[in-house]
């Protein structure tokens, strides 16, 4: 059962082949069996899950269940879950019991999903390897010496290893797409504002966006359907209408215009990854798509721009963690300043502190124009590159990540090298555009992701394009040996 998709499992549930309680038990058993070696989960909720599964079974029997009813899911531990620890991968929030549900959690709960637990992640979503977590690194099920990517590493690895059917993630600079690519699963980052950020612990508020990590594009469509849409609790929530994301999944791609940015195929791209991407592009040609080279001339500046914008916003967002109202407080503070400084220094890990310091510097008196203002200007140029590209093409394609999964520890001591692993994903966040990573042919036994970027609110088009690849190939069905 652990390798089936939502549609298959939903059919089995409705036909009475198995119950949601049985399905939930089988996933809890798999977590018990495999998670000691993978470390995908920070918190498990077995009793709550089985109780919810029993409710879902009743709903299914009554014939009123939606497509997600009874489906086992895991939430990234960045989403607030009422009455349950929500750590964000940090010692700072190790004792934090969320007093409310994130909108995404609430909407999925209402759709009848069964939450198994909360997945491991880079601390405050700052990382590309899941190694900055207070709860230890997650291992890649394809090879346990490799990282799963980050920051939604626990989510991607748990879907890849069949420990849940779907997991939620968040993507500020690639944190859904990059781990999805490195673990061989499908990861969708919708348009900025498409899914509510309410109850999703903020990292960089103008970039953060939630999304699903799934076995297929069709599954991603079902999850997006349940969570997309306006939320008055999020001041940047989009008021754009929500289309039917499954309706056009099978539309033919004849005449689809695909742009390949030459900057995404430069010398920084691993040769084996490039060959796998080329194979996928060939499949699109076979389906009648028109492929052309385009240019995103300012994309090479996206990493530099991101490492001003994201730390600046993080330094402001993370100022709320002060040891006063919730979270970690240091022992025996001498005075208020000591309380703030020691609570924050002891509660945050090295990468989070590094980004707070960079952001504080970029926003400090005398440096604002040189860093933050400059970055926001270049952000405009990067966004304009995409605008021009979408006058000529329907979607943009390229690799999700320049390499396959790298070894645990390989980049952990070198922040800038780590930052460059998001070189192809960051621009979509800066522009606010939707992107999806889908598995293509593995390179040397390691997963490779094809990234597809679309225009604003074109998630249905992205899912259609991804689904058509998954109809004509079986790359997304490959599972890591032993799981």
């Amino acid at each position: 059962m652990h390798s089936k998709n939502i549609t298959e499992l939903g059919a089995g549930l409705r036909a009475g082949d198995f119950s949601s309680v049985e399905l939930t038990r089988s996933f809890l058993d798999r977590i018990e069996q495999y998670d000691a070696e993978l470390n995908c989960f920070i918190t498990l909720a077995p009793e709550q899950a089985l109780a919810k599964a029993a409710v879902a079974d009743q709903l299914i029997r009554s014939g009123n269940a939606g497509p997600l009813a009874g489906i086992p899911i895991a939430h990234k531990d960045i989403f607030c879950t009422r009455g349950m620890k929500t750590s964000c991968g940090s010692k700072m929030l190790d004792n934090f019991i969320a007093p409310y549900d994130a909108t995404l959690v609430k909407r999925l709960d209402e759709a009848g999903v069964v939450m198994l637990g909360k997945t491991n992640m880079d601390e405050f979503a700052m990382g590309s390897s899941n190694e900055t977590s207070y709860y230890g690194a997650v291992r890649n099920p394809w090879d346990k010496n490799l990282v799963p990517g980050g920051s939604s590493g626990g989510s991607a690895a748990s879907v890849a290893a069949g420990l849940c059917v779907v997991a939620t993630g968040t993507d500020t600079g690639g944190s859904i797409r990059q781990p999805a690519a490195l673990c061989g699963v499908t990861g969708l980052k919708p348009t900025y504002g498409r899914i509510s950020r309410y109850g999703m612990i903020a990292f960089a508020s103008s970039l953060d966006q939630a999304g699903p990590i799934t076995r297929s594009a069709a599954d991603a469509a079902l999850v997006l359907q349940a969570v997309a849409g306006f939320d008055r609790h999020d001041s940047t929530s989009a008021e754009e209408p929500v289309p039917d994301y499954s309706e056009h999944l099978n539309d033919r791609l004849h005449g689809l215009k695909i742009g390949l940015p030459k900057e995404y195929f430069d010398e920084g791209l691993d040769g084996d990854v490039a060959r796998s991407i080329d194979l996928a592009i060939d499949e699109y040609r076979r389906q009648g798509a028109e492929v052309m080279e385009i240019s995103l001339p300012n994309s090479e500046l996206s990493v530099a721009t991101y490492y001003v914008v994201a730390p600046a916003e993080c330094s402001s967002n993370l100022s709320r963690f002060d040891g006063v109202r919730f979270g970690y407080r240091c022992q025996e503070p001498r005075d208020l300043e000591d309380l703030y400084k020691r609570s924050r220094s002891e509660g945050f890990g090295a990468e989070v502190k590094r980004r707070i310091l960079i952001g504080t510097y970029a926003l400090s008196a005398g440096y604002y124009d040189a860093y933050y203002l400059k970055a926001q200007q270049i952000r405009h140029l990067i966004s304009d590159d995409f605008k021009r590209a979408f006058e000529k093409v329907d979607v943009i394609m390229g690799p999700t990540s320049p390499t396959t999964a790298f070894a645990l520890g390989e980049k952990a001591d070198d922040p800038v090298t780590m930052y460059l692993s998001d070189i192809y994903t960051i621009a979509a966040n800066l522009a606010g555009l939707p992107g999806i990573s889908v598995p293509v042919k593995p390179a040397n036994g390691k997963p490779v992701g094809l990234q597809i970027i679309g225009n604003y609110f074109q998630e249905a088009k992205l899912l259609n394009v991804a689904h058509r690849l998954q109809q004509e190939s079986d790359w997304h069905l490959a599972a890591p040996a032993g799981y």
């Binding site: 004792n95 019991i97 007093p99 900025y192 504002g193 103008s206 001041s235 940047t236 989009a238 500046l301 990493v303 530099a304 721009t305 001003v308 330094s315 100022s319 002060d322 040891g323 006063v324 109202r325 919730f326 979270g327 407080r329 001498r334 005075d335 208020l336 300043e337 000591d338 309380l339 400084k341 020691r342 924050r344 220094s345 502190k353 590094r354 707070i356 310091l357 960079i358 504080t360 510097y361 970029a362 400090s364 203002l373 400059k374 970055a375 926001q376 200007q377 270049i378 952000r379 405009h380 140029l381 966004s383 922040p415 800038v416 930052y419 800066l430 522009a431 606010g432 555009l433 604003y456």
Partner: protein, 95 residues
């Protein structure tokens, strides 16, 4: 731009972080490396380019000034490090 130990001390104070004296050099080194990456931005002439604050150029939505949430002070304070009579406790600020 290369950061000195004193720069790190100053930034850390602004961010209300404590950096140990024996870590100042390595933190200064890490931050300098990141700033070198960031300074690639200087190669671009951005004169006259409007800064982009929001991906969709949306304006802040306003709502009527009406009470929309319930008072949940007890729930919220149940996870606080120290409270008394509905107030958050911190070390004495005024002698």
């Amino acid at each position: 731009m290369s950061l000195e130990r004193s720069d790190v001390e100053n930034i850390a104070h602004l961010a209300r972080l404590a950096v140990n004296a024996n870590e100042l050099d390595s933190v200064a080194g890490d931050l300098t490396t990141i700033l070198r990456l960031v300074e690639q931005m200087n190669a671009v002439d951005t004169a006259g380019v409007v800064p982009m604050a929001h991906p969709l150029h949306m304006a802040q939505r306003l709502r009527p000034d009406e009470v929309s949430e319930n008072d949940q002070r007890e729930l919220f304070q149940s996870i606080a490090p120290a409270t008394e009579n509905g107030l958050y406790l911190v070390p004495k600020v005024i002698e």
